[in-house]
């Protein structure tokens, strides 16, 4: 285990060339700046991207690196449906990176914002900091126990594929052809052409994070945060509560709508205490590794 962790670290160093807060490289000749354009005119809500991403990474249930929001707009019979794929924006000014106390997350010089799982302590500061909900704590329990767990993860722009000359898994799978990926600094790339030709929007531009995910044909209402909360179907509200009740997070502060906050505060504490045994076994594991390897 220790060995592969060192491997991981050195591979990361070699390939990723990390500087913690690499300055934004948009428009600087001779540098790469990977970006994604999402052409919402082409998005058909098939969620192939979601499933492709989940199977690429064996992502556990209840957490997502990418997802698609859906909204219905208008009055019968003038009703339309809008889709809104979401993922990490690989911000040029990533708040998550600034906030991380252990330099576990960093901005790669080519534009990726990445995680070093072996450094991450799972404090979730970055999760709180990310304005886009792009991050999640990987549950302690997952199918393949050799994959990282109890650390924070998020979309990596599939650097493991891109560095081998392949498109990210979600782009590969995108049936509508709505996701376009490439180097924004290369004027010949499809993504650069689209971003310069078409009117594009980014999420929460007012925050100054300078996202690398550009939307063509974005719809402000579905992009608006309070709107998403306010105008939900009651089915979604119920699912939201189901999620909060049943998804095992370690001591998360989940409040179920319509139930007393204080009840959940105590329940969170109970979960926290319940999480002690498996964490203790982690501690024991760590010592074992230290002593016997």
């Amino acid at each position: 285990m220790t060995e592969s962790r060192n491997d991981e670290e050195s591979t990361a160093k070699k390939h990723h060339n990390y500087g913690i807060q690499t300055p934004g490289t948009k428009g600087i000749a001779g540098t790469k700046r990977y970006a994604m354009a999402i052409d919402l005119r082409k998005c058909i809500g098939c969620m192939s991207c979601v499933v492709a991403c989940k199977s690429e990474f064996g992502t556990p249930l209840g957490v997502w690196r990418t997802w698609v929001k859906v909204a219905d707009k208008g009055h019968y019979p003038n009703t339309q449906r809008v889709f809104m794929p979401r993922l990490c924006n690989h911000c040029d000014y990533p708040i998550c990176v600034r906030n991380c106390p252990t330099q576990a997350t960093f901005k790669h010089k080519d534009g990726f914002v990445l995680q070093r799982y072996n450094r991450c302590i799972g404090c979730r500061t970055c999760v709180v900091a990310c304005p886009y909900n792009a991050r999640h704590l990987v549950p302690a329990k997952r199918t393949d126990k050799n994959l990282p767990h109890s650390v924070v993860d998020k979309c990596t722009f599939c650097i493991h594929r891109v560095k081998r000359g392949m498109l990210p898994a979600c782009v590969q799978a995108c049936v509508g052809g709505a996701r376009i990926f490439g180097d924004l600094n290369d004027p010949d790339s499809e993504v650069a052409k689209l971003v310069s030709k078409e009117p594009v929007t980014v999420l929460k531009p007012e925050l100054g994070t300078s996202p690398s995910v550009f939307y063509i044909g974005g719809d402000w209402e579905i992009m608006d945060e309070p709107h998403s909360y306010e105008n939900r179907t009651s089915q979604l509200k119920e699912e939201f509560n189901d999620f909060k009740r049943n998804h095992e997070g370690d001591a998360f502060g989940d409040i179920v709508e319509g139930e007393s906050t204080m009840y959940h505060v105590s329940k969170n504490m109970k979960d926290f205490i319940a999480s002690i045994p498996h964490k203790a076994s982690d501690v024991i594991d760590a010592f074992k590794r230290l002593l016997f390897k």
Binding site: L61, Y76, P77, Q80, P139, K141, A169, A173, V175, G176
Partner: protein
């Protein structure tokens, strides 16, 4: 470039591909679309790649599976495949999980205890084969060959029909065609064009009239061409649907229609087109059995005003859209179950097709194209076909059994789940449960379905990624074939049905004297596929290529940006107007237009303001049953609340999320109301595919549950055990849907059911279903009197 066998293929086959010069379109590729796969962290070696053909729906997209450490960890589209162009839909992408499904059946199981009690015993394959063969033999000897029945639901039968032909039984129930799948469309196409499939050239068209097809959710190879057309050609998409499907929601115009009225709308449009002199009279006169004058006369009685009365679509809109459609060249029409699944579905389909015909948009660039595919040949020698005379309909079968019309001794079930997916599924369950009526049930399945629960013996089949297979489907402008080479060892003792049938035949006809064994002379499923490929016209030399590349022919490289197939720097195009060379595949060689007709369903004509038509539909993230226990799909879609128009709900005092009863002629179900602006005021909508009572923890949203059968090496998935967060697993509408058969095509009129809605009563709980099977019978009897 030497990889591409387009030119080589042109020499071999009639279906030619021409490279049109279209300079400037080809851009330099930055990154590859796929074809390799790596571990997310341990990226040292590329994973082991094998061709894979997705059998989750009849489009058979070609792709790859990637294995590491003996387990498939990824499936994706094959970037060199001309139809899938590297794309799989959500179902295809998740399909490989079926292999490692922790609730999968891995050994033959024999029922102990009463039928449906869920008590099983593991038995060996030898015991199982001996028992089944013994039963079949006894049935043949004592009650005649026809007492052995097969309920066949697969897109690819896996040898089951061959088995029936071998033993000489005519009792084949085709559960998809012509029963509960889109048979009306097939029937219409067969009569009019002499084909069973068409291909709308959405990539090159400028205008799409879509009647009751949910292209973006159910026809993904077409959907990707549609989005290209939307952006590259700025095509206009007009969708007629009773509710806001994803396709309707992304259309330029969504036109809600009253259920079953698409036919009259299409006829009125055709009439408008003829009247305005916008029809391609030359084409009609040359290529159809009608003269344009005669057709115009026949159509003249279908006025837009009449259509407005029946459909609720404004006459002015009908007029406008008809003229737009006829003036825009090229244009195409696509229609599916929304039109098919009604009484008179065949007329509706014919009417929609007529619009393409009269505007001359048949087999032209951007029009309504004839299918291009390889017809995979059967293995030789092949048993004599027992003929289709006694082809049984799936939906009437249980009634007929009960009526004593069928004397069943053995019932084989393959890739079909009538206890869940058929209309009056409660009757199916009643009949299957009755050992007097159906003494012996054998199910070939990897998963415990609602039907398997009622079987006497379950023979575990392999799943898609473990199965050797070859297929071709008309989803592109050029024909292709694609193949699966299993990427992993078969799990447990699961066995390909073809081998199982072979063993059964060999047990019945051990010495070959009965003349059965010779039809099962292949050595393995691989051998079967090899023989199929080598016997198929156009594919004779392709086995090796198929095996390594997964697709044949390879027409060129697919540009990941423009998605065009490029060879020698030019886009490869398909050939059009093939009928000009050889005519149509009908008796006359011409298009045989059916006399324009439309009848209203009498029940709909008399519908009261507080009655509704119940419409059922598919969603992009599930198939009916194949995908039920796949965790990533169930996470996307697991609940199916009842769609109801907001205005209507307000009138009835129904609130969002409230429990309601949906009451049909046979009983009621209790479900949640989902208020939406996206449905016709007189329609209630409910999706299929969820509301399972079988399949396992994921499908039933119950992580605590464990399979009731002994499992070999049962594996726990921590992810499912701890992280499965949803608890609403939906309801199945099929119990309250009575049989309703369109006499002309045999199709179930799924979307005709008239229901009422009422607030739930005090002791109703979500998911309650109460139906009276006697009422199902009464309706069936009445219908047969009519039919």
């Amino acid at each position: 470039m030497t990889d591409f066998d387009r030119r080589e293929f042109m020499k071999l086959s009639a279906a030619a591909a021409v490279a049109a010069s279209c300079p400037g379109l080809v851009t330099a590729m930055e990154l590859e679309l796929g074809g390799k796969d790596f571990h997310q962290i341990r990226t040292f070696h590329a994973r082991d790649r094998k061709p894979y053909l997705c059998t989750m729906c009849p489009y058979f997209d070609g792709g790859f599976t990637y294995a590491e450490g003996g387990e498939v960890l990824k499936a994706e589209g094959n970037p060199h495949h001309i139809a899938s162009r590297g794309k799989f839909c959500a179902k295809g992408l998740a399909s490989f999980f079926g292999a490692s499904d922790p609730d999968r059946i891995l050994t033959p199981l024999k029922r102990v205890g009463a039928r449906g009690d869920g008590q099983w015993q593991q038995i060996s394959w030898d015991e199982a084969i001996a028992e089944v063969a013994g039963r079949v033999q006894a049935a043949m000897d004592n009650s005649g060959r026809d007492s052995v029945y097969l309920n066949e639901g697969a897109f690819k039968d896996g040898g089951s029909v061959r088995f029936m032909d071998t033993i000489g039984s005519r009792s084949v129930i085709r559960s998809r065609f012509p029963s509960i799948s889109n048979a009306a469309k097939q029937a219409a196409l067969e009569k009019i064009l002499g084909v069973d499939f068409t291909y709308p050239d959405l990539e090159h068209t400028k205008y799409v009239l879509n009647f009751g097809a949910n292209i973006m959710e159910t026809a993904l190879p077409l959907a990707q061409r549609l989005t290209d057309g939307i952006v590259n050609n700025r095509l206009k998409l007009v969708t007629f649907d009773v509710r806001l499907s994803n396709t309707a929601g992304r259309s330029d115009e969504w036109i809600p229609v009253f259920p079953g009225s698409d036919g009259i709308v299409a006829l009125a449009m055709a009439n408008v087109i003829m009247q305005n002199g916008l029809a391609d009279t030359k084409f009609i006169n040359r290529w159809t059995n009608y003269s344009s004058n005669k057709l115009a006369r026949h159509l003249s009685k279908f006025t837009p005003v009449m259509a407005e009365q029946a459909s609720g679509v404004m006459a002015a809109d009908i007029q406008r859209i008809a003229i737009e459609f006829a003036k825009t060249k090229p244009a195409t029409v696509f229609s599916q179950n929304g039109v098919s699944y009604h009484q008179g579905g065949i007329d509706g389909e014919a009417a929609c097709l007529l619009l393409s015909i009269i505007t001359g948009n048949i087999d032209n660039e951007g029009g309504h194209c004839l299918p291009r595919r390889f017809d995979i040949a059967a293995l030789q020698p092949r048993p004599k076909k027992t003929g289709s005379a006694a082809r049984q309909l799936n939906h009437t079968f249980p009634f007929e059994v009960k009526d004593g019309k069928h004397k069943v001794q053995v019932l084989f079930n393959h890739m079909s789940n009538p206890a869940y997916s058929s209309p009056a599924s409660s009757v199916w369950r009643e009949v299957l449960k009755d050992e007097q009526l159906v003494p012996y049930i054998v199910d070939f399945t990897p998963f415990m379905s609602e039907t398997s629960e009622l079987a006497d013996i379950i023979l575990p089949d392999v799943v898609g990624i473990e199965r050797d297979d070859v297929a071709s489907s008309p989803t592109a402008l050029l024909p292709w074939a694609t193949m699966t080479v299993p990427g992993v060892k078969v799990r447990g003792q699961a066995q390909d049905v073809r081998m199982t049938f072979k063993h059964i035949v060999e047990a019945i006809d051990a010495d070959g004297k009965r003349g059965m064994k010779k039809y099962w002379a292949f050595t393995s499923a691989k051998d079967w596929v090899k023989q199929e490929v080598e016997g198929t016209k156009g594919l004779e030399q392709s086995y090796k290529k198929l095996k390594s590349k997964g697709v044949f022919p390879n027409y060129g490289k697919i540009d990941p940006d423009t998605r065009q197939i490029i060879d020698e720097g030019k886009p490869v195009k398909g050939e059009y107007a093939t009928f000009k060379k050889s005519g149509f595949a009908t008796a006359s060689g011409k298009i045989e237009i059916l006399p324009p007709a439309w009848t209203i369903n009498p029940r709909h004509a008399a519908i009261k303001p507080d009655e509704f038509v119940l419409s059922t539909f598919k969603v992009a993230y599930q198939t009916l049953s194949l995908t039920s226990n796949l965790k990533y799909l169930a996470e996307l879609w697991h609940a199916n609340p009842l769609w109801i128009n907001k205005q209507t709900a307000r009138r009835l005092g129904i609130r969002d999320g409230e429990l309601v009863r949906v009451i049909s002629d046979v009983g009621y179900m209790v479900t949640k109301a989902w208020l939406t602006q996206g449905i016709h005021p007189q329609v209630l909508g409910i999706s299929t595919s969820v509301g399972r009572t079988s399949y396992g923890r994921v499908a039933q949203a119950d992580p605590e549950m464990r399979s009731s059968f002994p499992q070999q090496g049962q594996q726990e998935d921590e992810d499912i055990n701890h992280n499965l967060w949803w608890r609403d697993s939906g309801t199945n509408p099929n119990d309250i849907i009575p049989v309703s058969i369109d006499p002309a095509s045999g199709v179930q009129a799924w979307n005709d059911t008239v229901v009422t809605i009422a607030p739930a009563e005090a002791d109703d709980t979500y998911g309650d279903i109460k139906v009276d099977n006697a009422k199902h019978f009464a309706i069936y009897k009445k219908m047969m009197g009519l039919a």
